[in-house]
């Protein structure tokens, strides 16, 4: 085939130009423009002012909590989300459909509602909190609470990414591996897991990204003690309430940059890992 242009061969359906233009316009208007405004707003500060805001101890503590809790929550979700997806795909049990539908609940629920519910359950006198209290484990109003809230809202991302790829693993492959002498553990490690890894990675990325941006559910359970349980989005809101728009924009810019770098690197790693599979699918 002759390479006419640098673009991929367009599909038989007409309208490539129209759709590309539409997509670019929408992305610009809804995503890029506000982000550009944020950068511009930040640029109106001097370097000294900027550094003072973003490197203040309170800000540094909030980054640690926001990114740390999101990371832990996304890791937990990767493990448990995989198990949930596995159970839903591989086994048939009464109530499977209901459980499957419940997975999406955190998507639909206003995040504030989940935050209040979690606080009620994990508070010192709550349903679960009262049993943890004697062991000295405090969930509500600590970083643990933040992690729990982020785990709740991130779970559906992992489950929904992994489910289709688990369905795709053919039973025949497992049968083949078994006749070749592989143990169930070996089959899982060498046959099932490699086919699920890309989906698991994208589920992790989505859950992580969602965790960094989460606000509603966290502020209720976090307690919002400065330096301890204050997440960056909350700090931004506080700045806004103090009419410190420049400070808010500076913090927002830092979050934006860090999220972008992290998501980009995850995607790069994923693309590198997937190369074999992509080549295989071609």
């Amino acid at each position: 085939m002759q390479a006419v242009s640098g673009f991929r061969q367009p599909s038989v359906l007409p309208g490539f130009g129209l759709t590309l233009g539409f997509a670019t316009f929408f992305l610009s208007a809804i995503v890029l423009l506000p982000l550009a405004a944020l950068v511009l707003k930040t640029a109106s500060m001097s370097w000294a002012e900027f550094l003072e805001v973003v490197l203040s101890p309170r800000a540094l503590a909030s980054y640690r909590l926001s990114f740390g809790a999101s990371l832990v929550a996304a890791l937990i979700n990767t493990v448990f989300g995989f198990i949930v997806a596995w159970t839903l795909v591989r086994y048939d049990f009464p109530g499977r459909k209901i459980l499957d539908a419940m997975i999406d609940m955190p998507f639909a629920l206003p995040t504030a509602v989940s935050g209040i519910a979690l606080t009620a359950v994990f508070a010192e006198n709550g349903w679960i909190g009262q049993y943890l209290e004697p062991y000295g484990i405090k969930v509500a109003y600590t970083w643990l609470g933040v992690t729990v809230a982020l785990t709740l809202i991130g779970l559906p991302f992992v489950v929904r990414s992994v489910q289709p790829s688990l369905l795709e693993v053919q039973r025949d492959l497992e049968d083949a591996a078994e006749t070749l002498g592989a143990t169930p553990l070996y089959i899982f490690r060498r046959i099932i897991f490699p086919t699920v890894v890309p989906a698991l990675a994208s589920g992790f990325t989505l859950a992580f990204a969602r965790g960094i941006g989460e606000y509603g559910s966290v502020i209720f359970i976090a307690g919002n003690l400065p330096m301890k349980t204050e997440i960056t989005p909350l700090l931004i809101v506080i700045k806004l309430e103090e009419f410190d728009y420049n400070g808010a924009a500076a913090l927002g810019f830092v979050m934006l940059a860090m999220s972008f770098v992290m998501l980009l690197s995850i995607n790069l790693v994923q693309a590198w890992a997937r190369r074999g599979v992509v080549a295989a699918r071609r």
Partner: protein, 581 residues
């Protein structure tokens, strides 16, 4: 024997998918399991591999009972229809998989990989990914992967199913030569008879979960014992033929055609004859035939297919399977399929609608005692009701045979001319009048007789019981023939008096096992055995009443007579059918 199956049974939701299959495959043999889809052949293969657990029965590989052994430890190679290659591994890694699992050293692994790639004709393909290969190449890799750990048995589940005709043939040749070179015992599952003939040292044909017949390809093709095998292995015309007591005008093809029961001599015998399309000869008239004359017919369809010409001849009244019985006959007009080679076509060119004489070079008479069904009733209405019974209709279609009716009064009137004895299996309505009907038929030498409730459903279980040993052989033949068309589990039920001594019990048990091995040897049919103690009729009734939808095949103690005590089995029947033989 390298693979021994003993009464292997597998059920899915109560339906037997594999039904009492016993089989022995010799070392180094290429055995092909052939059957239509849903016949249980793949399930049986998976049971041999250990991928599916058998519900009942034993599986042994090289004398070692592996029934409870997992697939992992059975040391078999398995090839799947859709290749089932690991797509995230290269060809080399796929082939080495079994060796890696066994922690074989890298040097040895590489040596074996090279050896196998050469064996399947893909040297140097180690680093390709499976999806970079064509379907045929992928399946070759799958074969190499299955052979890497030097299994003692190679199992192939429709390995050519997903390939096109040309590649299929090429791969077929590769697999045959690999199998010969390694001398490995191989079982291949297919639904394609051409493939089965090309590959198999021996074939086994399955239908409804039962292994119907096993034998060498030529054996099964020329002398099938069952209708199913006759029609499944190539095209076949099944003809019903009445033979007089003193032989017939149709030359029997083999010793199977000889009558084996003295009872049969008392009336005209109806047999099922198989005529292969290529064994028919066409000529302008009877005198021009060089072979046995069968009848005249009109050419109805004519198809040119390259090497062969296919014809469909509608036989006239002089046709082979003319029905000469009773008042009504549900028999459709008889068609005969004929194929002719180019030289034959040149010698006698034909056009549609032309009248031709049909001759037969070779006819094979199937050894089945169930030739056709004749409903015997006192009124047209009851005959019609019985003829509409869905199970009977279904059975007739499955057996590709005729269902006709014969109406005559229960008590013959004086002066009424005796009607010809019904052909094949006589079917009567179960109920209070049933014993009288049965007696009248038996007196005229009609066997077997099927007593069917008007609303009878297909049986889920068939009980076989011999009240005497005289008619055992005939009953066994009837049983074997029926079970091949009924997807139900079956059991030989022996009943001994409750107060019988230890010695009688042992003898009874031995007799039962004798019956089983006789059925196995004579009909290739394996059936379970059970022994009961008690009064015969009571035990049978208890067994039949235990669950609905059962059928009893009863071997009568004296041929041609029905003891009074047996009447209860026929009159009390609310839902079961009884086949008296």
């Amino acid at each position: 024997m390298s693979i021994t199956l003993d009464q292997v049974t597998k059920q899915y939701q109560g339906n037997p998918v594999v039904n009492d299959v016993s089989l022995a495959v010799a070392e180094g043999e290429f055995f092909v399991l052939l059957g239509p889809s849903g016949s249980g052949k793949s399930t049986l293969l998976r049971a041999i591999a250990g991928l599916t657990a058998a519900d009942h029965g034993r599986i042994a590989l090289f004398g070692r009972d592996v029934t409870q052994v997992s697939a992992r430890e059975r040391e078999v190679g398995f090839v799947f229809q859709n290749y089932a290659l690991f797509r995230h591994m290269t060809v080399g890694e796929n082939i080495e998989f079994a060796l890696r699992v066994r922690r074989v050293k890298p040097a040895e692994r590489a040596r074996r990989r090279k050896e196998l790639l050469e064996l399947i004709g893909l040297p140097g393909m180690d680093d390709r990914l499976p999806t970079q290969l064509s379907g045929g190449q992928q399946q070759r890799v799958a074969v190499a992967r299955a052979l890497a750990h030097k299994p003692k048995v190679l199992l192939l589940d429709e390995p050519f199913g997903a390939l096109d005709a040309k590649i299929r043939e090429e791969l077929r040749r590769t697999i045959r030569s690999v199998q010969r070179e390694l001398g490995i015992t191989t079982v291949l599952v297919t639904h394609d008879q051409e493939e089965a003939f090309a590959l198999g040292d021996r074939l086994g044909v399955m239908n409804f979960g039962r292994l119907l017949e096993t034998g060498r390809p030529t054996e099964l093709y020329t002398r099938p014992a069952t209708r199913f095998v006759a029609t499944f292995l190539g095209a076949a015309n099944l003809l019903l033929r009445r033979e007089a007591r003193s032989g017939s005008d149709l030359a029997p093809a083999g010793p199977e055609a000889q009558t084996d029961s003295p009872l049969r001599d008392r009336r005209d015998q109806e047999v099922v004859a198989m005529l292969r399309p290529e064994e028919a000869e066409l000529a302008p008239d009877r005198d021009a035939l060089r072979t046995t004359f069968l009848g005249y017919g009109h050419v109805e369809e004519l198809q040119f297919t390259g090497a062969l010409e296919r014809l469909r001849i509608r036989m006239g009244l002089e046709g082979a399977a003319r029905s000469s019985d009773g008042e009504t006959s549900a028999m459709p007009p008889v068609w005969i399929d004929v194929t002719r080679t180019q030289p034959e076509q040149r010698a006698f060119p034909l056009a549609s609608g032309q009248l031709v004489a049909v001759g037969t070079r070779r006819i094979h008479v199937l050894p089945t005692p169930l030739s056709s069904f004749t409903v015997c009733a006192e009124s047209r209405e009851s005959a019609a009701r019985l003829m509409e019974n869905p199970w009977l209709v279904d059975l007739t279609i499955r057996m590709q045979t005729r269902l006709s009716a014969q109406v005559e009064p229960l008590v013959a009137k004086d002066g009424a001319s005796p009607v010809v004895a019904p052909a094949g299996v006589a079917v009567v309505t179960a109920g209070p009048d049933c014993p009288a009907r049965v007696r009248r038929l038996l007196a005229r030498g009609v066997t077997p007789v099927l007593c069917l409730p008007e609303d009878a459903a297909p049986p889920s279980r068939v009980i076989v019981h011999f009240a005497g040993q005289v008619a055992r052989r005939a009953t066994l033949a009837v049983t074997a023939s029926l079970l091949r068309h009924v997807p139900a589990e079956a059991v030989f039920l022996g009943i001994l008096p409750g107060d019988s001594s230890e010695r009688t019990r042992t003898a009874g048990l031995r007799q039962l096992l004798d019956v089983r091995s006789e059925a196995q040897a004579g009909h290739g049919l394996d059936v379970r055995t059970e022994l009961r103690l008690g009064e015969r009729i009571e035990e049978l009734l208890r067994e039949l009443e235990a669950q609905p939808g059962q059928m009893l095949i009863l071997g009568l103690p004296e041929p041609g007579s029905l003891p009074d005590s047996f009447e209860a089995l026929l009159t009390q029947s609310p839902g079961w059918s009884v086949l008296l033989a």
